[in-house]
């Protein structure tokens, strides 16, 4: 009798073992698939005729995705392409071939191509392993500035880059000593203007940053967002570049600002007031600084609140360099939910997407 009961116990334990093995295998497969972003659904294929896109053809998630630029990590290319995001940002690599390979890989099969973005400023140079460019602090003539823009523009165009997050037009670089043009606000403006003309002559969108200024002087070793007073001098380069209708994109910083522009205690790129005031004068692309920065995340009680505040403020493009594609997808779903509940006007999304698609060379209906 004892032997029979013992035998039955062993059999049950064996069945449980087989069940748990299968369960672990299934769960393990799901965890691996999730970590690679493979559980993210694919957005529908678009039909584009005569280079014209009908906005009504895009799902809400597709439209919001167009407003997002992420890190171009090749390991996650599949989910990033499935989401049909607006762009990828590239960091430093060993050689030119690597850049071309990764750009080609991401762009393959995309009906709406990604924006490909980099930070090429001079002393900030992701290509420095194989090509050198001068720092803007070394440029003090208009001809030099124009040639620098043109040379860098040609190089970037050859790689498949579409937007350069440069030039910095903030004044007086007291931190890095190389990221700002020399001189007063007038000289910085003229040099930046010449640089932008050279770069955009080669088909690359240049980006004046970081609106509304003062990002090169705040020396704060702490891990929260800094605040700064903005003067007329700080705003002068941006106002002039906008008036000359030179620059096609402006990046807004996380700095909390007061003085001539007031972000009302919020990061500037999450301030409706700052973005609206800029929008009244400027019809190009308004881009946030990278929202995955810790100071930005620490400012808000949670990520969901941060995402909604940034999108509600009204920028066209949001940079989110969180490497996890699941988190990017979650951000898109949160914003889509807010639109569906009426918290964010869908027409505001449409306006930005129209601007983005036109910048990518499409006609938009």
């Amino acid at each position: 009798m004892k032997k029979k009961r013992g035998g039955k116990k062993s059999l049950v334990a064996l069945y449980v073992l087989i069940f748990l093995l299968c369960l672990n295998l299934a769960l393990g497969t799901l965890v691996v698939a999730k970590s690679r972003g493979l559980l993210i659904p694919r957005q529908p294929e678009l039909v584009i005729v005569d280079n014209t896109i009908d906005l009504k053809q895009l799902t809400l998630e597709q439209k919001i995705a167009q407003m997002v630029i992420v890190l171009g990590v090749q390991y996650y290319s599949e989910p990033l392409k499935k989401m049909q995001l607006g762009g990828i940002h590239l960091h430093a690599m060993q050689g030119e071939e690597q850049f071309q390979e990764i750009v080609g890989h991401f762009q393959e099969g995309m009906k709406i191509p990604f924006f490909v973005t980099v930070d090429l400023e001079g002393c900030v140079n992701p290509f420095a392993n194989f090509i050198k460019f001068s720092a803007v602090s070394e440029i003090n003539e208009l001809g030099q500035a124009f040639e620098k823009g043109k040379k860098e523009g040609q190089f970037l165009d050859n790689l498949g880059v579409s937007i350069n997050f440069a030039p910095v037009v903030d004044l007086n670089d007291e931190i890095w000593n190389c990221r700002s043009f020399p001189g007063d606000s007038k000289m910085v403006t003229e040099l930046a203007n010449a640089y932008i003309l050279g770069m955009q002559d080669e088909g690359i969108i240049a980006t004046a940053k970081h609106y509304p200024g003062k990002t090169l002087v705040i020396k704060d070793p702490h891990n929260y967002l800094a605040a700064a007073e903005i003067t007329e001098d700080d705003l002068y380069p941006y106002e002039q570049l906008v008036e000359k209708e030179t620059v096609k994109a402006i990046m807004v910083s996380h700095l909390i600002t007061y003085g001539k522009v007031n972000s009302e205690g919020k990061p500037s790129d999450a301030s409706k007031r700052i973005i609206n005031e800029l929008r009244e004068k400027f019809d190009g692309l308004i881009i946030t600084d990278e929202i995955n920065m810790l100071g930005m995340k620490n400012f808000y009680s949670d990520l969901d609140t941060m995402y909604l505040e940034v999108f509600k403020a009204g920028p066209d493009i949001i940079l989110n360099f969180n490497k996890d594609p699941n988190e990017i997808h979650r951000m898109i779903r949160i914003v889509a939910g807010a639109v569906e509940q009426g918290e964010i006007d869908e027409s505001r999304i449409d306006t930005s997407v129209r601007r983005i698609l036109e910048a990518k060379g499409f006609k938009v209906e």
Partner: protein, 120 residues
């Protein structure tokens, strides 16, 4: 033939593994050794930018974002940097080339960036 006691032990282990995998699917994270290393390090996180002869401190927050953009990440560099009459110890060096901006950080800053998901 494996004893039933052994099978039961294996089942308990598999059960715990399944539980951890479910937590992982739900996005629940477990504190890591790296986190413990950060908490136990008594120093303040330090990040120094360097371009030519110029050195300056920047916030670790901004630093983490810049570090992950560099080509060479986390090269061992245990040295003391003299800066504005201060001697600051650093442990790691980040750069793309010697003629672009270089970054020097200490282990505290390294663990801070790593624990917050940056590719350092």
């Amino acid at each position: 033939m494996v004893s039933s006691k052994t099978i039961i032990t294996i089942n308990i282990a598999l059960g715990i593994t399944a539980f951890i995998l479910v937590l992982s699917l739900l996005g629940v994270t477990i504190p890591s050794v790296g986190n413990a290393l950060y908490v136990l390090d008594p120093n303040e996180a330090v990040c120094i930018t360097n371009y030519k002869d110029n050195y300056n401190l920047i916030s670790t927050d901004l630093c983490c974002t810049e570090l992950q953009q560099q080509l060479v990440k986390g090269e061992e560099s245990n040295q003391v940097i003299n800066m504005n009459n201060q001697k600051i110890s650093v442990n790691k060096h980040y750069y793309t080339s010697t003629n672009t901006i270089n970054y020097f950080i200490n282990n505290k800053a390294y663990h801070y960036c790593k624990n917050n998901g940056f590719l350092v």
